[in-house]
């Protein structure tokens, strides 16, 4: 709990916060697709500006928007180096052992790191501006067409929403277990890899046990209150989309098409 929180819902009343969660989901996917098709300096610029505008409009602090990039820094460094070193064996600057850094590889490395960063920032904006329960409802609504193919979309949505609702509980419990084991002399913070590995058991075993126990208890509690998985779920269909929602869908589609065909 004490570390800086990134990617969790931050209440607010901005344009982005007020959008319908389904619309946000849709726009998020449209922008992710746009990002994946980005492959030119102009395209980078457009996506970069869009991300900055979205951060600004959602009143998200810049540090919070890019917070998870900091946690991923080694991942980003590694994918950058891998692309730089291995992407193109032809026209390499030099070749040493099996490393062949090249200009093409350098461009590809920037490309990949940029795409990953933008996708992470976009998902951060989505997560911080939408309450988890609305996210799962939106997911359910967007999955609903698949129910015609026989997919149990209601149950999938229930599984996801239960999982999301239990994250804070399990986080708190893991925190307590971690502290209890530290108090008993566990060395999670040790720099020695062997000690670190040995410290996993005291942490993971109790967390799993308590997660399973909670799952059992929840299943019993749901059953006691008459939950049937086959039961038709109440659906609130009458949620109207606002003009802002329509604008968001339109704008994200335009960006998506623009990126695919023109940049």
């Amino acid at each position: 709990m004490t570390q800086t929180l990134t990617g969790i819902y931050l209440p607010g009343n901005t344009f982005i916060h007020r959008l319908d969660a389904r619309v946000k989901f849709f726009s998020f996917f449209a922008l992710v697709i746009a990002t994946l098709f980005t492959n030119s300096w102009g395209g980078y610029l457009v996506m970069g500006v869009i991300s900055l505008v979205l951060i600004y409009v959602s009143k998200l602090r810049f540090s919070q928007a890019i917070g998870s990039l900091g946690m991923m820094k080694w991942f980003l460094v590694i994918i950058f180096l891998m692309n730089l070193m291995f992407f193109s064996p032809e026209n390499a600057w030099f070749s040493w052992w099996f490393f062949t850094p090249s200009y093409a590889g350098f461009l590809q490395a920037i490309n990949i790191v940029f795409r990953v960063s933008v996708v992470v920032i976009l998902s951060n904006i989505l997560n911080t501006s939408t309450p988890p329960i609305e996210l799962t409802r939106a997911m359910e609504a967007l999955l609903r067409p698949l129910s015609y193919l026989g997919l149990p979309t209601g149950q999938i949505a229930m599984i996801i929403s239960v999982a999301i609702q239990f994250i804070p509980t399990l986080t708190m419990e893991s925190d307590q277990i971690r502290k209890a084991q530290i108090a008993r002399g566990a060395r999670f913070e040790s720099r020695k890899l062997t000690e670190k590995a040995a410290a996993i058991g005291p942490l993971v075993v109790p967390i799993f046990l308590s997660a399973f126990r909670r799952a059992d208890e929840l299943a019993l509690a749901m059953e006691a209150r008459g939950y049937r998985s086959s039961q038709k779920k109440q659906v609130n269909k009458n949620v109207k989309l606002s003009s802002a929602d329509a604008f968001a869908i339109f704008a994200s589609l335009v960006v998506c098409i623009f990126q695919i065909y023109f940049l």
Binding site: L5, P11, Q64, Q176, K179, Q181, R184, G185, R187, P206
Partner: protein
Amino acid sequence: MPIDVKELSFTYAQGSPYEVRALSHLDLSIADGEFVGIIGKTGCGKSTLIQLIAGLMKPTSGTVSIDGEVFYPGKTDRSSLSKRIGVLFQYPEIQLFENTVEKDVSFALKHASLSSSEVKEKVHWALNAVGLDFDKFKDLSPLGLSGGEKRRVAVAGVLVTKPEILILDEPIAGLDPKSQDGFLKLLDNLNADGTTIIMISHNLDALAEHTKRTVVLEDGILIRDASTREVLTDTIFLKEHGLGMTQVGRISDGLKNCNLPLPELPLTMRELCSALLKVSA
């Protein structure tokens, strides 16, 4: 190892909209061999306070020093402290993980460079202290025991290092009455041997019978720090702050309402009995 807390403040999730100030500017010192109770409503900062005292979190501001030395995670190597401070969290049975009771109890001794016979001796002592038979339980899986037995194994796992300071968060919640009595007696014995004990509890009766000093927290502020007798017989104060009353307090209050006031307010059942005897004589 006297404990000295100065100007201690702690804020959760600082800088985010979820920021919660759990403790502010708290001063507290606890001498060797004390048995201190901490009371207060849920969310008043009790658990935060004991985690800071145990050196498991870094204060937002202020200091905790033990034996004159300031420490917090990152600054001090906790491994030397963990042998001297024992912490028992709420529902400690969730911390069990080994496949035998003996291994789980000896977990805290892993880095102590003791011979296996010394470890065995300590585990034997700790299990004995919590009322479990070493030979009967040592090879059982802690996860297959009953709730009360699990709790005792967890307690043994904390006691095994013979800590000089024992910090307990609601240790008797969820135990049956007999186990509660046994556990409190164990604490009395440890305290008599010189262990400093700090105990959070909502069970005022237990605190009245066992602690000498009571600290009251409200909204992260220390509002009272006095002898248990003074705090727990101050019925007006307890009512005002919604802390409940001891059974003895309730009886004395009822007697007062029936125009049968006791000359001085009793703290324990024994005192109540002798006061009643005096009145009836």
